[in-house]
Amino acid sequence: MLQRFLNPAVLAGISGLELVARTVVEGFVAGLHRSPDFGFSQEFAEYRAYSEGDDLRYVDWNVFARTERAYIKRYRGETNTLVTALLDTSGSMGYSSHGVSKLDYARYLCASIFYLAINRQRDGAGVIVFDDEIRHFVAPSTRQGQLMRLLHALEKCEPRARTDFAKPFFHFQQFLHRRGIVMVVSDFYEAPEKIVRSVEPLRHKGSEVVLFHVLDPREIAPKLDEPVLLVDMETADSLEVSPDYARTGYRERIDAHIAAMREQSKAAGLDYFLLDTSRPLDEALREYLSLRAGRM
């Protein structure tokens, strides 16, 4: 069990991201016996009703001729699909309450998925690192040495500046020409409707968008023994917070935020997955992939 569910704190002790990714992926793949088909592909999956903005090229005209209704053919990713990770490196991602920061956890996640995609699926993978600007970009590719480039890009990430989804996501649309799988890894400290509004255009290009909401356990359930002066890691603003309020009012608001993220993502056709940085990464990945396989 311990081998399968690796503690993020243990992973943090492993120096190289490649080794981390291999440890995670080999670990959980070794434990999969009854689901050998986990992975990314673009095989035909289903029909769905046409909605405004859908590419007319995917409309099944035969069905339209018979029923006079427009349906879009949906595909599962093919073997050579592209996986692009959008990694938020804003200041808030540097928060940690137990040794592994949210950014570390996000990097392990990205590295593991890149490893899985490139080494196991032979898919192309790329990464875009952003905060309020696009800080780094490695175009999705299946070329030799792509994994190393990606891991190098991840290792260079530093938490800084503020999160701004609107500006970077406008530019993402220019980078992402081909449809594939887009993973947005962030703590999403922004209004859910604004996030969804920023991310939704990626979905319109036919890509499958997955939102990985990375949160520290203390962000979900803060534990304060006495009044503290909280300092915002992005804006350096400060507020005095009582244990009373952290226990009641804040919990209500963060739960509402998560629920809003989940509901609005679902409404916009986006996948949403909450990641608690205290959870073993392989367990989290396994759960996510199980859910994803269940939907396909």
Binding site: D225, L230, D232, P243, Y245, R253
Partner: protein, 665 residues
């Protein structure tokens, strides 16, 4: 406003402690980096504010608690003006004099009229009370605000023929003022008799919050003649020897000749003139009082035609009776004691006894009920049957005089009473030739006129054990000489020596005659008492513990004074109205008692204005009240302690809530 213990205010410094603690707590915030404050923002601010507000409330409670505690110990007080405190409310008392003198010139009716007038001007809603006073004060109402009840109480006031007492009135007013928190205004309706003032002016002192408003019904003394007193025998044994002496007094009167009449049972027996000097007294003597057997209603009357006619007559009762029988039991060898006792009783003008002397051996067939008194003169060998009969007779009210000489001492027991005789003491054997009387109760009727038996030498005395008997006289070696013992309703008087001029020389002394006379009268129930009583006097109907046999009292109008229950149990009765009362005592005796109003009421001279002003000034509501008024301090310490308790409970509850919040977090 001030503090009774101001040094406790130093405790206010303790307030700094909770403030210091709260300030420390407030600034003890740890800066902590957090990913984003997006979800704290406005609500966070308000949450902190709420928290601070609650903590401020807790702080305020703690500060308040300490401040109040220090304040409570400092015991603040305020000078409370009684008048201001009650915001003008007051208790108006109407006190109406109903004494005997108020009969003059229809004064009582005028007083009631003026009182009604005062009550009609009383502000609505205020409290009022009506008192009627004479020798005692009667509360006609409680403090009420019902005008009808007050008016009815005034109209119900009637004369009680007693002597008015301003001291008693002042005492009751002080008690009312003490129980009432309101200022008291007293309207006094009286003829302001000078004789109603007490000997000590301090007895008139009014309460601090009291205002006295006199309404005099007479401004100057009126001329008044009265029969002030009458001296007459209560028991008439020999009409030829009897004498009635009357004193006629004039108060504020010119010299005048008054006609004085003696009336017996409504019939004028004799009339004499009396020259009464100006504001003086004259004595009139009537020799010979021819009254029939039994009780007679007598009266001395003058023709005065003055303002107060009720005091022109003085009533007294006289009982025409035969001499009483005295059984003298003595040893034949002691004839001298018989001689001395007979001589003493025969020489007396007040006591009249027929003496029947018998030796102890001849007492067997005697009927005791016909005797008023039995005298045992050292009669040692009484037949047992006679002694038992004698005891029974005493228990039903009879009386025995025992002279315990050597004969009784030899038998070691006092007859009838059963008291032990320890020994027979001879003075000569103890080094002294004789003993004398050391202490004597001269208030006792038997010794009242005996002059302490001074100079009497006692040679032989029986050492009588007093037991439950009352010792009336002792010799200088503390041997009881004269003892009185009660047996049932009767009395036993024991002289621890003989009456034979051998054991002592008492028969040769001047004190012997009054002693024997008074003792015999006392024991026979005919003790000297005035032929009349003053209105308001208390008359005893039965001795203590004598309940069961009914007594009866008829007032001058012939009505029963006592209810059935009272008749069976009352110790006595108060004779309130002037006139003749018919009394039937529980022991069976019948009596006619004459009652007259107190003649001090006849002096209608009024209280000087200066004295009245002084009396008014004893109350702070008087003329100079404003200058002498002293505000009463009202300490608030206990009230503050109650608030402290309340705040402490509140602080405790808030503290619990705060702690619960802390523990949960």
């Amino acid at each position: 406003m001030g503090f009774l213990a101001p040094w406790f205010l130093a405790g206010l410094a303790a307030i700094a402690l909770p403030i210091y603690v709260h300030l420390l707590r407030q600034h003890n915030v740890v800066p902590l980096k957090f990913s984003s404050l997006m979800l704290f923002e406005k609500h966070m601010q308000s949450a902190v504010k709420r928290r601070r507000l609650r903590h401020l409330l807790l702080l305020a409670l703690r500060v308040l608690l300490l401040a109040l505690l220090a304040l409570a110990f400092a015991n603040p007080f305020v000078q409370r003006d009684p008048a201001a405190a009650t915001s003008g409310a007051r208790l108006e008392i109407v006190a109406i004099d109903r004494s005997f003198s108020m009969r003059a010139d229809n004064r009582l009716e005028r007083a009631k009229g003026e009182a009604l007038s005062i009550l009609s001007r009383r502000p609505a809603g205020g409290l009022g009370q009506v008192l009627a006073f004479g020798a005692t004060v009667q509360l006609m109402t409680q403090a009420v605000d019902d005008p009808a009840e007050l008016r009815a109480a005034v109209q119900a006031v009637e004369s009680d023929d007693s002597r008015s007492s301003y001291a008693e009135l002042a005492r009751v007013l002080r008690a009312i003022a003490q129980s009432s928190k309101l200022p008291v205004q007293v309207h006094l309706f009286s003829d302001m008799q000078k004789t109603s003032l007490p000997p000590s002016f301090s007895d008139l002192e009014l309460a601090a919050n009291m205002t006295l408003i006199p309404h005099p019904l007479a401004t100057a003394g009126k001329a008044n003649w009265a029969v002030e007193s009458v001296t007459a025998p209560r028991r008439l044994l020999d009409p030829a020897k009897s004498r009635v002496e009357a004193t006629v007094a004039g108060f504020s009167t010119p010299a005048a000749r008054r006609s004085v009449s003696l009336t017996v049972n409504g019939r004028v027996v004799e009339t004499k003139p009396a020259d009464v000097p100006a504001s003086g007294r004259a004595r009139v003597e009537f020799l010979g009082l021819d009254a029939p057997h039994g009780f007679s209603r007598c009266e001395v009357r003058i023709d005065s035609a003055d303002a107060l006619a009720a005091d022109d007559a003085f009533r007294f009762s006289v009982e025409r009776a035969d001499p009483r029988r005295l059984l003298f039991v003595h040893d034949q060898r002691q004839a001298r004691s018989m001689l001395y006792v007979r001589a003493a009783l025969e020489s007396s003008v007040e006591a009249s006894f027929l003496i029947e002397a018998v030796p102890p051996g001849e007492t067997a067939n005697l009927t005791l009920s016909k005797y008023s008194l039995v005298l045992l003169s050292d009669a040692a060998n009484l037949p047992e049957a006679f002694e038992a009969a004698l005891k029974g007779w005493v228990r039903t009210g009879g009386s025995v005089f025992v002279a315990a000489g050597p004969g009784i001492a030899a038998r070691r027991r006092v007859p009838v009473s059963g008291g032990a005789v320890i020994d027979l003491r001879y003075a000569t054997r103890e080094g002294a030739r004789f003993r004398t009387v050391a202490t004597a109760d001269t208030a006792h009727p038997a010794l009242r006129r005996a002059g302490r038996l001074e100079g009497v030498r006692f040679y032989q005395v029986a050492g009588v054990e007093p037991g439950d008997a009352r010792v009336l006289a002792r010799l200088d070696d503390q041997t009881p000489l004269l003892l009185e013992q009660r047996l049932g309703a009767g009395k036993i008087l024991i002289l621890a020596s003989a009456l034979d001029n051998v054991s002592n020389d008492l028969p040769l002394h001047a004190a012997f005659v009054p002693f024997i006379e008074q003792a015999a009268n006392y024991l026979a129930g005919g003790e000297t008492r005035a032929a009349s009583l003053t209105a308001g006097s208390f008359l005893e109907l039965r001795p203590e513990g004598g309940a069961g046999v009914a007594a009866e009292v008829l007032d001058p109008q012939g009505k029963r004074v006592l209810s059935f229950a009272e008749a069976a149990a009352a110790r006595g009765v108060t004779l309130t109205s002037p006139g003749f009362y018919e009394i039937r005592r529980a022991a069976g005796g019948r009596e006619l008692v004459a009652v007259n109003a107190d003649r001090r009421e006849s002096d209608l001279e009024v209280v000087p204005a200066e004295t009245l002003a002084l009396w008014q000034n004893t109350g702070q509501g008087g003329v100079d009240a404003a200058s002498v008024r002293e505000a009463k301090p009202w300490a608030m310490g206990w009230y503050i302690m109650l608030v402290v308790l309340l705040v402490a409970v509140t602080e405790f509850l808030f503290g619990l809530r705060y702690l619960a919040g802390e523990e949960a977090s």
